[in-house]
Symmetry: C3
Subunit: 285 residues, 3 copies
């Protein structure tokens, strides 16, 4: 029996998540349901996409990932299901699934138009309960993917900052701040390949230097450190503290990596290239 | 195996909910447990009653709904179980179950007095763990309802504002603000029957007009809209925003529906009837 | 199939808890997982230890308790598993398990060094997912405890305030403030044995008197009361309110019990002994 995961912006103070689970269990009493998170900021598709992409990979093949951050519910946006080599994803077609799908091998996309699968009457404000939950429940109970609706080639992509390299500098951006105040970047393994990290230095906003470390404890308490985080991405952290708070980091902040050299070592707090007059904007996406 | 749902004001930062689940699983290892919500404001029986009533309906018949918002724990209040056509409800007899029971066909009410069913020694401060959880677990494992304790005809009702109609105006009230800032009213389907909603206008506090819409997106972003929400009730929302915040809505605020006419259209921001001197108080519950 | 409980400081807004569950279900699809709490303040080993100790006892024998509050993750701290008469505990060896273990009969302690059991490559920042979750999953699926790694005699203890008695006064401390503002103390059953509580008076910080009560409702609304809480410990509460807020109670505050007598009764608000010049410091730990 495949696991159904839920990623929403519904919070936990209302009954919305419970209602989704009630509908699922009504259709498949043996369903196993796991919360990925329900604390996506209301309507924040980008945060939801990131949480889904980061969390879905740790589930066994066959899992059904349901994501509902759906400010356009009841309007013109489509509802889709995507079958990949490992998983099935279900959600509104508003970009919410896009980051997760970049990591997977997409096999099949279908529009959820088969009303016979829904909880009827379909509300105009709560497709989490009336559309996505019952579809997930039926899939988990064995419904064939092809029954969901007509195939389509397209789904809505999400504009997401890509790292850039130029003149020996790798530049990325902060894409997520977690509960601990760690700042996760878009500098993932494939971008970091070939960089001797131990011989490099990381800069936040071109001004705050962070040494590389193998773990948070590689620097004294209260000091910033750049580590390879558990999502395989470069992460700015503070040993026993919040990097986001201590360094004032925000989503979108620029993070650059360059080989450490003597001039950088002397000019602590400001990378050499900036002094030479190269505009920061060159690398900004 | 029936689902057991939990609705409490215990929050999730302490171990209280975990303890309830531990007790349940100790008595019925196969129990399926679903959280409806644990974020009912501490001691707020009215909010808990609403969440339970709104969420319980989406669960399959046979489910056991446990609710614990219990400021009088350990005192004179009774503990009860109620069997309805579809569900069983368990909780303190302080009004917490009352709204849910209005939607169900009550078949049998029993006082939970059978100490043999409890976790002993019974604490005076945590009947969620010591009384309600074990009773729910035993019911889910097949215990006959009649074993719970003596039958009773009565349970504590909850004073809840009822809509009123007068002079072609339907007047209700805001009864719940959800995470998204949507303002749910007590104007449910049976009250709205016969009203041509598309030809009506909704007013919040007699002053803020809201057009009807079929979904949040029926109005431009940032604009208020009255929709039929997923609980079948009239709901004041804001497209891509929080109506509660933008309009300063509070629980108890008056919400009126009247046929839109030319004079109303001209007098935007203030309904005609109010100008004619009819006192708002006439319809206030 | 034993229950796996999770106690962490991961919060619920990120995907961390979901990732742990995904890993567990990948290794043991039949695992039952229960959240004790994920709202331990980040890095607060003491709070995590308390929550684990308070909550774990309500689970059936055989349960596997996983706790991860792990500011030293990826550094020199050991990872351990402890088998007791009733349970198995898994977590970092930083004191987090210590309070729970004081209540149990420890049978066997092992260091988690068997890499074949981990999710590889082992990250340096998320042993909850990569080490503790897979070990718990494998244990729940039947792995022999001895396979986890080499035995050890030692685990890190936690400095925890012990009550003291002197001159007919029992002195403890506030050790936890719960969601309701109840102040739980370290005055547990074995310390209270022999004290006629009904004939005593409780003082918070030597200044605020609280009568004993059998339940919160033993005093008028808004009044403080000392009750025997559900963890078997003395607890300072407020009937229908927050004692922590109303009385400004903090963790570490001194709580004393002494026999009530006439002089105390007259001198309400300040215990007699303090007036006689005995220094409060005498009993402070």
């Amino acid at each position: 029996m495949p696991v159904i995961t839920l990623t929403t912006d519904f919070g936990t103070r209302d009954w919305f998540v419970g209602s989704m689970k009630g509908v699922i269990l009504g259709l498949n009493p043996a369903a196993g349901i796991v919360d990925l998170t329900h604390e996506v900021p209301p309507g924040d598709i980008r945060s939801g996409a990131w949480a889904l992409a980061a969390g879905c990979r740790d589930f066994p093949a066959g899992s059904i990932h349901v994501a509902v951050v759906d400010p356009g519910v009841g309007g013109a946006r489509q509802a889709i299901a995507v079958r990949t080599a490992r998983y099935r994803f279900i959600g509104p077609d508003n970009g919410l699934l896009a980051l997760a799908l970049r990591q997977e091998q997409v096999r099949e996309v279908r529009r959820l138009t088969n009303q016979a699968l829904f909880r009827l009457p379909l509300s105009r404000t709560f497709h989490g309960r009336d559309l996505f939950a019952p579809v997930a429940a039926r899939l988990s109970a064995g419904l064939a993917f092809g029954r969901l609706g007509p195939p389509t080639k397209h789904y809505v992509e999400l504009d997401f900052p890509e790292p850039r390299t130029a003149r020996g500098v790798l530049e990325g951006a902060v894409v997520y701040l977690d509960r601990f105040g760690n700042a996760l970047t878009n500098l993932s393994a494939q971008w970091l390949a070939g960089w001797e990290l131990a011989a490099c230095r990381v800069w936040v906003r071109g001004r705050v230097p962070c040494p590389f470390g193998e773990s948070y404890g590689a620097v004294p308490e209260g000091k910033p450190v750049a580590v390879l985080g558990s999502t395989g991405r470069l992460e700015i952290a503070l040993n026993r503290g919040s990097a986001a708070e201590a360094l004032g980091i925000r989503v979108g902040d620029r993070v650059t990596i360059r080989r450490a050299n003597r001039r950088v070592e002397r000019g602590r707090g400001r990378p050499v290239v900036v002094r030479r007059g190269r505009r920061d904007g060159d690398l900004t996406f």
